[in-house]
Structures are given as structure tokens and as C-alpha cells.
Symmetry: D2
Subunit: 347 residues, 4 copies
């Protein structure tokens, strides 16, 4: 069974990565390269890596028309757009995988507070499934509207959630210090993202205000059954791809390396996309680049009674397009890692 | 038909790229991860990107033993090694694809002069086929010993050879200014290749003495039937992958853009791995990264009567491991681009 | 004697580098930080490196007012602006150092053809002095309007001109392959200059059409007394600063390394800012970063009868702001290297 | 008064930075370029940035001989060397500024435990002064043996100590997540520090075991009069220079932005080298590169009751050589910022 996919926002970095992955997917044909900014321009002239591989031109954001011609729509657009376009008619015809934040948060007030915009379609929030496959696999299979998690969020949650769920750590003591490659900042023409401004520097940004914070908190709250407040600080790193999360938390009890390892194994031992590293091996973003893997390691600090959990992923793959395809695979009954058995590219 | 492959020198960058490509190849199983420096060490602990994907340990360089157990041996080793190991018995059992320079040059004196070592097996030079698929396809299919071209060489020859063959340019006026990412310098622990030494800098090296020079000259000489002497200057660029060649030559006659384009089309119009860019589009290494493509463009400068030809490839793929796999496909009767339909990874 | 300087265009990269250099100059006080885009904004909030060092706010481009209050005006602006503002009254009050291309070319037709704009003040072209200090030192001392050379131009001319002047090489055979760091592309918010677009890539641009070509040709023509046409190809390199020029030319006669070295010594032996490297040492941009030095080396290729000349400088210092200060020193009778004895910063 | 300086370990990155700074210092002459690995080699051939600026050859590590000929010795060597060379006779003749860890920790057991070597000269530990100028200024003026702080340590302590001292934060809740450029890893030829291994990646290392941890703890313990245990995690960033510290701590009481700002002002308001950033401005390493500044900012997170303190410095300047020169200035009665009024270099 071959399905047809449409991409709204195909000329952002996440959209282009979707194109890369779907071109190599044996069961999908891309039928619509949406990009409001480049309508009628050859897609391969915007992303020359697709020269000779994609012949199509960019199309407008017409979700109605798209719904009639494809099986799945990916929206890789700024927050607000997907919610403003979706409606009952569309949802009756097509499945939607939204890479924006519109349907990630269950509490519309939290959404409106952190994003500073009014939610245009709150009636679909309940129905939408949060697409962290390793956590919500069964619900994902059944949904027609999928909220693809944020890049920082995916890395933060997957790195910490087993220990939150098992009450090994005090979730409210969690401090997540995250570092991202620059593709996470998008392809907008901003001085701050120019080569010379990013190269040879590192900085924190969005300190105590970054929008992925409530998304992490909400999922961790579900995991432990109580409200969780954390600190989350993103940093911009002079590299193209990759997110590294270094998470600190107080241990609730005395645990050994083996205890903690066993918990991670319990949750992730059978997960294809999560690689639990050997003792004393720290994740590095270079080892996951281009792939859908998340590498996870940890270290107990007996001196301070804390644990340091670390996770690495490729922000454009497992942090965006790859996870979207993984979700698509679940939603359409394909093998979960179909088209995603990507070997990380190094160096 | 599934074949077995052995890699000698699997822990260099080219060797590791071979592993990446062969893991994704539907007709090959890697049976031997050779690496003298890491014998008995888990391969995936040397290249952590293969964690959970490769379980094997590194083996010694035993070509005799290897010849009994595999169908094809790749030698991704420094010059001299392959020539010192190969013999009639081995060649009767297995096909060899040598990524080093040992069998690239037909004139053993030229080899010994530029490489400064004695050739250990000159008796196989004649039999060896120079593995530039787009040029020597038919001979490659039949050989049992394949000399995989150098990275700079592949880019330089493919970019210029149609115009040399058709006498559009004066081959002896050729000046090739090449720029390479740092993986071309190998994984040896040298101060000059440390991050801080390479980053934020560019330099020429091996000026007028680089060993890829005679390799380019020999192939271009065959193409035009006369001895060719060129200038070739490599440069080290602060990036991981990629080679860009900017080649200058005097035009022999008045030609238009269309004339030249037609010649390129004649030679490469049907080649899957060569992408002739549109008018006024210059190749950029980012658009071929991770793939086996060569992107080629050119510009006629009427003021000076010269043409500037430009080519870009990924030095580890089309410049090394990808071309080796392309050669293997030809040698074993597989579809030429099997396992090599890699979409370039950007950013 | 302390002089006052005004900078028009102080928030571009060259303008900011002028600020860095002038702050450390013992005889200059910056009295005007011009920047049309940031009027009334604190200069140090645009370039946070000057926090606590510069308290001033950005001012408009009012050259009339500026002429009444300072001794020298630097225009670090796009071509066309300086020519449109300058007039007799201003020139009677103040000296102008123009970092744009407006007064570099003596032939106004060449200017208008390559830049595609009408020259607004051709009457001052004759009076303007081309500010390559090592070539035009005496004229520079006397002028009131100084055309500061382009970055590529400075590197290209200084690297090749002694051999052109002495007819050691055939100037019309010159092929200049230049590589520049990304600060040369300016601070404009363009997608092409985003971190992810530049990083991990190299490309040629402006092939056969770059505007520094006629500037190089004009100066080399003066040097050898005949019209010179060359090929000049710039490349964008993923680093912040630095230009490397690799120049190829046919030798007119048999010369030895010592012959050529003697010619370079004749012209540059006493120049503080030009460092003639030892035999077989190639210039690298990392060794000049942050300084006003130009490092020059060369290699004779007896096989092809050509010479490869190489030069490296920091495009923002000797290629722009440093050279401007060197010119200022000459124009105001200061020691030529005052405030410019900068030790290159490595790594 | 001109003094003479000798450098032991002048060919490491910190040693070379000392050379850069001392060459520009008006009161110092470098009399000895020590480097065991490069004895008799021209210093400028090891660091080509000093070509034409330094004519000297590298000398051996003879501290006895050195003590007779210079006023101050800088040891920029691995831990253990300085302690093994120093003795009463030497200390009677010369002042020593040790950039290694030998005299930083007052408790010799802590030193021997974390560094895994026996301390060769524990008798001088008490006399040695910890050279964090902003904290220990008066003691530094009087000492003859100075322990120059570590790079991470300098940044970590200066960023947090005012709030520790004033009990605004719970020192034992401190979590310091630090990010460093690669020059911090030294110039040793190791595979892990090759360009291709560091570029396009980020990783934590030395998790819960890094040797700067006890150094930070000791100084913070002095500040608050009680034992302090913290978490400190360093990360390797693909850039040459720069350290960014992101420090998290629980607030002991309700404080406002103004309260905290006032405390920082109290301690640092008059410090030339510490720049307290404006509200909501986060430090970025690019803004301090090449200078001796430390930029500090902070953000209160009312949701979690924590504060996030951030500091940035250049690891080779304020984190090593610059601080050493600042200490030297104090020890010899020079103006504290003599030779150190370096404007940060951007981009």
C-alpha cells in the first residue's frame, strides 16, 4: 500500500528533512510540496540537494485541496497555522501530523500563555495525541491528528521519564540544561543566525521562558501523577544539527548504577530508536547525526546525591521529521522503523 | 545473491564510511572488520555511531584468511599495504577493491617517484582497472583487482575530462585549485589536524607536489592521446566533508555556453551520479554531502578566453567509499546504484 | 596631537573592526558612530563586545555636520553612498577614507559597468588616491580623499605585484583563486549567509563577474605598463575571518627560488606589515587573524613552468579597517604602524 | 621598570597566549621560551603567528638557570611539574606564577585524590596564594608563589560567589553546567581532539569527576564559611575559545532582580574586568573573545524558586594567560590592567 503525503511548510529545515526521509520511504509518495514563500518555484532550486531527485514546484498552503488528494498532511509551520486551517471536513478525509506546537499542550490556557496567541481550534486538543512513540504508541496508532513533539522536548522527556515514572528522582528538582545545533533556529533570515554571529560562540537563550518548558512539564506530570515544575535552559551551539540534554536531579533514595540501568532497560530495552549506552559512556551528538536514534547515558554522583542523565539526538530527525515519519508509520500500520533505519553519518 | 565483504582498514574515515554504506546495501554482508590498531576491540566502541548496529570486533589484516571467507576485500589502508599483501592465490579466490594508490598509476616509475616507496607487486598493475565508473565502466565489470581513484582525482577528472577529450580546452593549460574537508586528512593523531589548528583557517598544502597530480595527468592523457601536465593545488577547509574543484583552462576555440553544455550532456546526460547544474549555478559541497553525487557547473569567461569548470563531491562517498561500492556493484553484476541512492543530507 | 574620527557605517563588520582598532589607537578619539539602521540605539547594544568600552549612541549619516566636528571621516558603507555625500565644502574641512569602491577605479566607465550604478561624484576620482600603502605610500600622505582597497584586491595585488612589475610572470596568464571567511559577506540578514547554509560547505561565487576583478587589473596594469586581464574567482569558506589567495602564472623566463625571493625582498624587505615566509612555508589565515599582516609565500613548479604565489590576510584588518587606519596614519603624519602592532590571535 | 619573564611550557595554547599578551605588555620582556618538546626549534616556527615578532628558540625546562636570569617564571605545564621543580633557592630569587593545579588546593589530600599523583612540594601550599584577583587581590600583591586558577573555575566562581557569600542561594544546591571551546583540551595530538571528531558535535565529559570541581568547592566554602558540595559538568563545544557557565541554585529567600543586581554591583561594580550585563541580556562567549573580561548575567525563575547565573570568558585569557598577567601586574606593583585593556575581537 503506497500512500500520498503533502507537506505544508516544506522549505523550512524540518520540512526539507521530511522530504529527505520520505523520498527514501518505500510506502510514501510526496504529492505536495507546500511553501507559501516559494510558490511556483522549483523545490530543488530552494534545496539544491534535491536536484534531479525532486522535479516538483512549490505549492500554496491550501489544506482543503490537499485533503482531497493525499492521505497524510504534515504541517511543518510556525505555531498557529495548523490550528487555523484544520476543520471537521479535513479531518474526515486525511490524517494530520502537526510538527508545530498547536496540539501538544492539553491545557489551552498554558498554550495561550506561553505562546502568546489565541488557539484557533481548541476543540481538537483533546482528540490530538502527543506523538512520542516510545510513550504513547498505542494511542498514536488510532489517532487522526497527531501533535509531533518539540525537539528539545523529545530529548528531555526520553532522557528522564523512566526515572520520573519510577520515582527514583524528585521530578521537581529537575534541571535540564540543553544544547542545540543551529538548524533548530530555523531558516529565517535573521542577523542573530548569520554564520559570523553563531560561529565561535555559545549562549543561553529563552532562560526560564522557553516554550518547550510546559511541554516537558506536562508529560512528566502525567508520568508521576503530580504537577511538575522544572528548569529548562536551551543553548545555541555552533553546529548544524544535534541536541544534547544534560539533566540533573536529586535521587529519592540510594540507588546503584545497576538499579538505574535496570529501569532504563525496562522501558527502553526493546526500543529500536533508543540506545542505552554502556557504563561511563556519555552521549555525543556526532554519533546520532542523520539518524532517528536517541543515545542515553547517566552517571550517579554519590557525593551530592544527584544523578546526571544525558541524552543526544538529531534535532531534525528524532527531534522533528524522523519522529513525524515514525508516527506516520504507526498511524498507517507500517513497520515502525520503516524508512528510518538510517545509519548515523560520521564524520 | 548475497555476498560477503571484508574490510582491511575499517577504522579510518574511508573504512568507516564503507561500513555505513555496506550496512545499508541489500546484497552485502560485512564479514570482517579489519583494523590492526584496534584488534579485538569492539568496532562500535571505535565508531559509536554503529552502536547497536555492528556487534563485531576488529580483526587483524590477514588477507589470506580473509580470501577464504569473503567474496570481496576492500583495502582502505595507506599506500603500500595492498600491494604487499596481494598474490595469485588470493586473487584466484576473491576480488579486491583497493582504496589506496597502489594500482592507480600504470607507470610504476611514476608511482615510485611520487610516493617514494618501492612497489611490492608491479606484476598486477596492468591487470588492475582504474575504477572511475563513468569512464571505465566496461573494464570494471570484468576485473578482479580494482584501483579505486583518489578523492581529489575523481572530482578533478570528472569535472574536466569531457572538455579535454573533445579538445575544447588546452589540457596543458589546466590549473586545478581544489578544496577539501578535513576528513580527507585521515584519522591519525597529528597536531596539524587538531580542531583548533584547522578551525578558522584555510591553507594550501602539497603545492606542486601532491600525489594526486600524476593520477589526474595520466587519465587526462588517455583522454586526449597526448601527455598532459597540469597544476594541482589542494587546500584544507574547516569542514568535515566535501571537495570542491575549481579548474581553469584556455579554450581552444570560440565556444558558447550551449556548445559546452552539449558536450557535458553527451558524456554525462545518462549518468545517475553526475548532476549537471543549470546555467550560472555553481556547485557547493553542502548539496552533495552524504551522497554519491558529483555536481558540475561551468562558466565561460569571454574576457580572458578561459573556462572555469567546477565540481563538488563528498570526499568520503564518491571520493572513496561510495565509488568503491559503485565499483563493487559493477564487478558483481548488481545494479550500479544499488545501495547508493542516498539523498544528500542538508544542513 | 589627538584627532577626532567619525565613522559612517559603524555597525557593519568593517565598521565595527574600525571601532576596535581606533579604541586602541593612542592618537584618535571616535566622535561619531554613524549607523542609519540603528540611530539612537546604544552602539554597545549592537556590538556587545564594546559593552563598558563605548558609551555612545548611533548617529545618522550626516556628513555635513560630521565634517564640522571631526578630522577624518571613515565611510564603511555600500558603494554609492560616499560618492553621493562628498562635496567641495566637506573636503575642505575634513579628510575622507572611503572603504567602499567609489573611488578605487580611475575609469568611471569601468566603475559604472561593473557596479551597475551611476557614479555621483566623478570629479573627485582623479584626486582620490588608491590606498595600498605598500605601493602608493607617498601619494597617500598628501591626499584628502583616500580610496581604501577591497579585501580580495589587497591580498591579490600584494601577493603578485612584485613579479608583475619585474616581468617575471606573464600578467595576462594570472589566475587568482581566492578564499574568504564569511565576514566578507557583511552583516545583512540573508538566508545564504545563515550559519547552517555556510557551515560545512564551500562554493565559488561571482565567477568571472566579481567586482574586485577590474580593481586588481587596474593596479597590475599600472605596475607593468600594459593592459592586464586576469581570472579572479572568490570562494566562501566556513570561517569568520581571513582571505587566502592562490595565484597561478606562467613564468616568463627560467628563474630560481632565490631569484624570486630576491624580488619579493626588494619590494617588501622593509615593510612591517608584509611577512615573506621561509621556503616551502605556505601562508595560512590562522597565523594573521586579528592582525594587519599579510603573509606571502610562493612555489615554482618546474614541470609546468608556472609559479604559484600565495598570500593570506585578515579581511577585516589589512583587508579593510586595519588598512584604513594605516592610511590614516600616513595621512596625518603618525607612525605608519601606530595602533596596528597587533599580534595575531591564535587559536 | 622593565621586568624579565620566563615561560616554562610556552608551546601549549596557554603558553602561546602568554607570549601574545606579554609581547604587548609595556613592562615585560620575555627572556625564556621554555618547551621541552621543541628545544632548539625556533619558537615562531611552532606558532607561525609570531613570525617576525619572536626570534628566539625554544629552551629546556631548567628552572634553576631561569631563576638566575628572570624576575618571574610562568609555568604553563601539566600538573606536577611546577611542584617538582620549585625549591627555596628558586623562590628566594624569583616569583612563580603557576598555571597548573599544583598549588590551587589547600588540602593536599584533596589534590592527591582528584589528581591521582603525589604532591612533590606540599610545604609551599600554604604560602601559595590562589590568584583570583577579584577575590584575593591583597594577598596576591604580597606573594612569591601564585596559583593561577583553572579556566572553568574562574568562570564558575566569579559567576556565583557574590550570591554564595551573601547567602542568597543555597550553595549546596549549586549545579554548574559549563561549556568550553576546544583550546581548553590542549595541543596534544589525540584522536578525540581532531577537527572531524570535535566539529559538529557536543558532549559532556568528566561527569561528576572533573578536577575543577574541588577547586570551585574550596573557594565557595571559604566564601560562605561552610563545606560546599556542588555538581559541575564540563562540555566540549566546537569552537576554539570561550567558556560559558550556566549555574543553577535554589534561592534562600524571596529576592527581586534589583536585590540580586545590587549584590553583584557591590562586589563587582568597580572591577574593570567584570562586566555586569543589563537585565535580560545573557552572556555569549563571542563578546569576550581575545579579552580579559568576564561577562555576567542572571535570571530569577519565580516558578521554581531558583536563579540561573551565567558567566562567559575567554578560557585562554581570563581563564589562563590573561589572569596570569593580571596577577603578575599585582605582584610587581603595575597597574592591574596594564597590557590587558584588550578589546574583544568580533567576529
Amino acid at each position: 500500500m503506497m500512500i500520498k503525503a503533502g507537506i505544508i511548510g516544506s522549505t523550512g529545515y524540518a520540512g526539507a528533512e521530511l522530504v529527505r526521509l520520505l523520498l527514501a520511504h518505500p510506502e510514501v509518495e510526496i504529492a505536495w510540496y507546500g511553501s507559501r514563500s516559494y510558490v511556483d518555484k522549483k523545490y530543488a532550486s530552494v534545496y539544491q540537494n534535491f536536484f534531479k531527485l525532486v522535479d516538483a514546484k512549490c505549492m500554496d498552503d491550501n489544506m482543503e485541496e490537499l485533503a482531497d488528494s493525499v492521505d497524510v498532511i504534515f504541517t511543518a509551520t510556525p505555531q498557529g497555522l495548523c490550528a487555523s486551517l484544520v476543520n471537521d471536513d479535513i479531518l474526515s478525509k486525511v490524517k494530520i501530523i502537526d510538527l508545530s506546537a498547536d496540539f501538544r499542550l492539553k491545557d489551552v490556557n498554558v498554550y495561550e500563555k506561553w505562546y502568546g496567541i489565541k488557539h484557533a481550534a481548541p476543540q481538537y486538543i483533546d482528540e490530538a495525541v502527543y506523538g512520542l512513540c516510545e510513550i504513547n504508541r498505542e494511542d498514536i496508532r488510532k489517532t487522526r491528528i497527531l501533535a509531533n513533539p518539540g525537539c528539545y522536548t523529545t530529548c528531555s522527556i526520553l532522557t528522564t521519564i523512566p526515572l520520573v515514572r519510577e520515582f527514583v528522582i524528585d521530578a521537581n528538582s529537575l534541571i535540564i540544561d540543553a544544547k542545540s545545533g543551529t538548524s533548530g533556529a530555523g531558516r529565517g533570515a535573521k542577523v542573530n543566525n548569520l554564520f559570523c554571529e553563531v560561529n565561535e560562540s555559545i549562549k543561553a537563550y529563552g532562560v526560564a521562558t522557553h516554550r518547550h518548558t510546559p511541554e516537558i512539564e506536562e508529560q512528566l506530570s502525567y508520568a508521576c501523577g503530580q504537577d511538575v515544575l522544572i528548569n529548562f535552559t536551551p543553548h545555541l551551539v555552533p553546529m548544524n544539527r544535534g541536541i544534547l540534554v544534560t539533566a540533573y536531579a536529586n535521587l529519592n533514595e540510594n540507588v546503584t548504577y545497576e538499579d538505574v540501568k535496570a529501569i532504563y532497560e525496562k522501558y527502553y530495552g526493546d526500543e529500536y530508536f533508543i540506545r542505552l549506552l554502556d557504563k561511563d559512556v556519555c552521549p555525543e551528538t556526532r554519533w546520532v547525526e542523520g539518524s532517528n536514534f536517541v543515545d542515553i547515558g547517566f552517571k550517579i554522583d554519590e557525593r551530592t546525591g544527584r544523578i546526571i542523565m544525558m541524552g543526544a539526538l538529531d534535532n531534525l530527525v528524532k527531534g522533528a521529521a524522523g519522529q513525524a515519519v515514525q508516527n506516520m508509520n504507526l498511524m498507517f500500520g507500517f513497520k515502525e522503523n520503516l524508512g528510518l533505519e538510517l545509519v548515523p553519518v560520521f564524520p
